[in-house]
């Protein structure tokens, strides 16, 4: 059965900390892995990863895909309270997107 698993389920850190969120997938005909940030309602797109070992960066956020380990990580450095959200990862094949249950990040001042 195709699935995506994220860990940890929730995380509480203080501003300035660095966090690493994990995503593992078992998806037939895997094409790409995507990360989203969900604050109130609509998830907003962060990264799309298709090649193993190539880091994508956007400001304090970065992500990398390991196709051998069927996993991806999302790093956030120097966290801010505005980073508090649910972070979702999704694996895509030719048929659909499989979402993990998300990691709820709470950044305290």
């Amino acid at each position: 059965e195709d699935k995506v698993v994220q860990s940890p389920l929730s995380l509480v850190v203080h501003e300035g900390d660095t966090v690493t969120l994990n995503c593992s997938y078992e998806v037939t005909n895997f094409r790409s892995l995507l990360w989203y940030k969900q604050e109130k309602k609509a998830p907003t797109f962060l990264f799309m990863l298709t090649s193993s070992g190539i880091e994508k960066k956007s400001g304090r956020l970065s992500s990398i895909l390991d196709k051998k380990e069927l996993s991806s990580i999302l790093n956030i450095t120097a966290t801010q309270t505005g980073d508090s959200a649910i972070y979702l990862c999704a694996a895509n094949n030719f048929n659909k997107f499989y979402f993990g249950s998300g990691t709820k990040l709470n950044v305290k001042p």
């Binding site: 998830p43 799309m48 979702l88 999704a90 895509n92 979402f99």
Partner: protein, 114 residues
């Protein structure tokens, strides 16, 4: 460029009623996806439409159905509502079925079944 829009933002129904949710994709996008996000759970895939056709559906009963119109907007219908149908329903669009690289989400419709 306008994003994905959904209506209504909130919907309150009672058990047994029918609910209709609407979604307009980003201009130029032909693929529309529907997801259910129940409280505390991740996104559960419901339906995928492209070019007016249903391409795939998730593990939901037949009372969850929908359609896509010629202008690529879409409707999700939920018949015989049950209490556990209460959830946030998210619609997403992507450029076309062959380029399923990213999805852009709408703000969602929060359905409450009493």
């Amino acid at each position: 460029e306008a994003g994905v829009t959904q209506s209504p933002t909130h919907l309150i129904k009672t058990r047994g009623q029918q609910a209709t949710l609407r979604c307009s994709p980003i201009s130029g996008h032909t693929s529309v996806y529907w997801y259910q996000q129940a409280l505390g759970l991740g996104l559960q895939f419901l339906l995928w439409y492209d070019e007016g056709e249903e391409r795939n559906r998730g593990n939901f009963p037949p009372r969850f159905s929908g359609r896509q119109f010629p202008n690529y907007s879409s409707e999700l219908n939920v018949n015989a509502l049950e209490l556990e149908d209460s959830a946030l329903y998210l619609c997403a669009s992507s450029p076309d079925a062959g380029v399923q690289e990213t999805q852009y989400f709408g703000p969602g419709t929060r359905l409450l079944v009493l």
